[in-house]
Point group: C2
Chain length 351, copies 2
DNA sequence: ATGAAAGCGCTAACAC
DNA sequence: GTGTTAGCGCTTTCAT
């Protein structure tokens, strides 16, 4: 494999009979320069197959036109896939590239990921921090004083622009909707990273959005008109195995719920799976409402009633805010985008 | 925002009383150097909050430990999300970062994406080319003679290591399975990028994997035991709108199919949606087999019978092959990984 | 309008 | 074992 050295600006300069400085000016289009020179240099550059070395340019210029995205989870997650796409698209729109890294909700991995981003001289960062409290590695100083936007969840010290969704209100709305439909045996399946298996008592929840969902469910229970006869809470590890076991336990309890609220799609899938295996029909024998919409939740029969979050808006806004900060208008805003209930067929009308 | 200049190797050198070269050696761990010096320099570097500038290091060293991934479609696609995850994970395993770009099946976008990768000095490329034939921008020369691995589909000139899946065989297997179950009115819904709406006559298919699926379906039709009574082919644009219209047209035809084979998940979703709206039950009134497995296809009731491709293996292997080439063992292999049918409940047993 | 020269932060010969 | 030195490819004053 003949790895012939790349064509550099020197080669172009030599071939077109001007200096490197002139080539740079011609190709980057700045400073005073003769149009004829521009044309000539461009032609030569093209014929030589010259391609700018972005590394060298960035090193010299002190900016990379790149933003770092550090998120929990990966592309198989219904929040992350759409958010990432929105972020990439909007970044491209504004002339930026995106470096992506996922942390699997692990603070140590997050630390390394952020360091890698910084080492690669990103101009700013969009973070989905893995923990509300453990963020000593996310101080402005440790982040090189670079502009930062936090999305999906909050840090307990609101230092950066933060964009979240109104999950608490939406969760409450979901409960009220179910109760209105006559449900009075309510089950809640809440995914909490960092725990083992599942538990009935609420563990420490390191993520504000999850906590908000739990809180919203709770206020729904407290504020609904006919008080529900039974309410079961289950906090569950994010694995398929634990989720299936949790659903099984819910269904096998003395007073099984007529509806299960799930805090994310993985939990929803577990409900679908276990119910399916038992021949229980969703929207009939068992109802379900989940967080986060997806094409399949909409296409299924019955369609799954979900709390839809404005993921694209969120991603779009995150980039816009970040780039605005990078380009000189720093602002520490706390933005909450509304989430809303999409009623489809997964909630049985009991009365 | 005080963008204090970053701590550089010079600062560390000054603070620890040694030369820049020694700092570099101490921190990168190469050459001959005293262990005590290493310890000292490391301590100083840490206390100063020194972080290597990856740009400068890469510029100097001539390699970035980065591979570029240019794919069609985005993260909302069931193939791409898993493939990307597998690629990132394996790359990390081997000490590489991944630059990601998606092209929406557009050759022009692909061209720019590849150029950006090259400009950023990736050490190698993994490509899902948008067209079998239009790839004059993918010659070794245009790719800077860098190692390249093609995945998911082939170029008509096999110049690079290529990893695909045995879609033709699997597609045929799917048809034989359906016929064995007594289906004799077969519908085929094949997503083809670049066409407008949908059409009955086979258009030019710019993607080998799609062509293979179509071919496999066809050989299934030709080789099955009781010949099917009716067979309808529909080639469809990849939009939700066109897909829904195509399914509707299939269902409204004089001899509607008892089973529809879909070439990807978007088409499957359309079948689910339209059938659902009409109250037709999957696995009863209408059967379906799709390409590409997903968590939701497995969790649904009935579960969707799918052709599962070894996406993780494919991603894993792609990185392994690429890194091996980057590190000096170039090889132009044509690898085909087996795809296989997962039988679930979406195919009615008619006899 | 163009060229000369300095230097972004780093590594790797080459000396000692 | 450590320092000196020369760049990697590029941009950007400062001259002319």
């Amino acid at each position: 494999m003949a790895t012939n050295r790349n064509v550099t600006i020197n080669d172009v300069a030599a071939a077109s009979g001007v200096s490197r400085a002139t080539v740079s000016r011609a190709l980057s289009g700045y400073g005073r320069i003769n149009q004829a020179t521009i044309d000539h240099v461009q032609k030569v550059a093209e014929s030589l197959g010259y391609k700018q070395n972005a590394l060298a340019a960035a090193l010299r210029a002190g900016k990379t036109k790149t933003i770092g995205l550090v998120v929990i989870s990966d592309f198989t997650n219904a929040f992350f896939d759409r958010a990432t796409k929105a972020i990439i698209d909007q970044a491209k729109e504004l002339g930026y590239r995106v470096l992506i890294s996922h942390t699997d909700e692990d603070v140590e991995v997050e630390k390394i990921a952020v360091d890698t981003m910084l080492s690669n001289q990103v101009d700013g960062l969009i973070l989905v921090p893995s923990s509300t409290k453990k963020h000593s590695h996310l101080t402005p100083k440790k982040l090189g004083n670079k502009p930062v936007v936090i999305i999906d969840r909050k840090l307990d010290t609101p230092r950066y622009t933060t964009i979240t969704t109104g999950d608490e209100v939406a969760a409450e709305e979901a409960v009220l909707h179910a109760v209105e439909y006559g449900h009075s045996a309510l089950g809640f399946l809440i995914a909490v990273p960092g725990i083992d298996g599942f538990t009935k008592t609420q563990p420490e929840i390191p993520i504000t959005s999850v906590q908000e969902r739990a809180d919203g469910f709770l206020s729904g229970v407290q504020n609904c008109k006919p008080k529900p006869k039974s309410v079961s809470w289950l906090y569950c590890e994010g694995t398929e195995e634990a989720a299936n076991a949790a659903v099984t336990s819910l269904l096998d309890s003395p007073k099984p719920p007529s509806i299960i609220f799930t805090s994310n799609n993985d939990m929803l899938l577990a409900v679908l799976k276990v119910a399916g295996d038992r021949g229980i029909k969703i929207g009939k024998g068992l109802s379900v409402i989940s967080f986060d919409d997806s094409p399949w939740a909409a296409a299924m029969v019955p369609g799954i009633t979900v709390v839809a979050r404005p993921v694209e808006d969120l991603g779009h806004l995150a980039v816009t805010e970040l780039v605005s900060a990078i380009e000189g208008k720093p602002n520490h805003r706390q933005i909450v985008l509304p989430a809303h209930l999409i009623k489809r067929g997964s909630v049985a009308k009991l009365k």
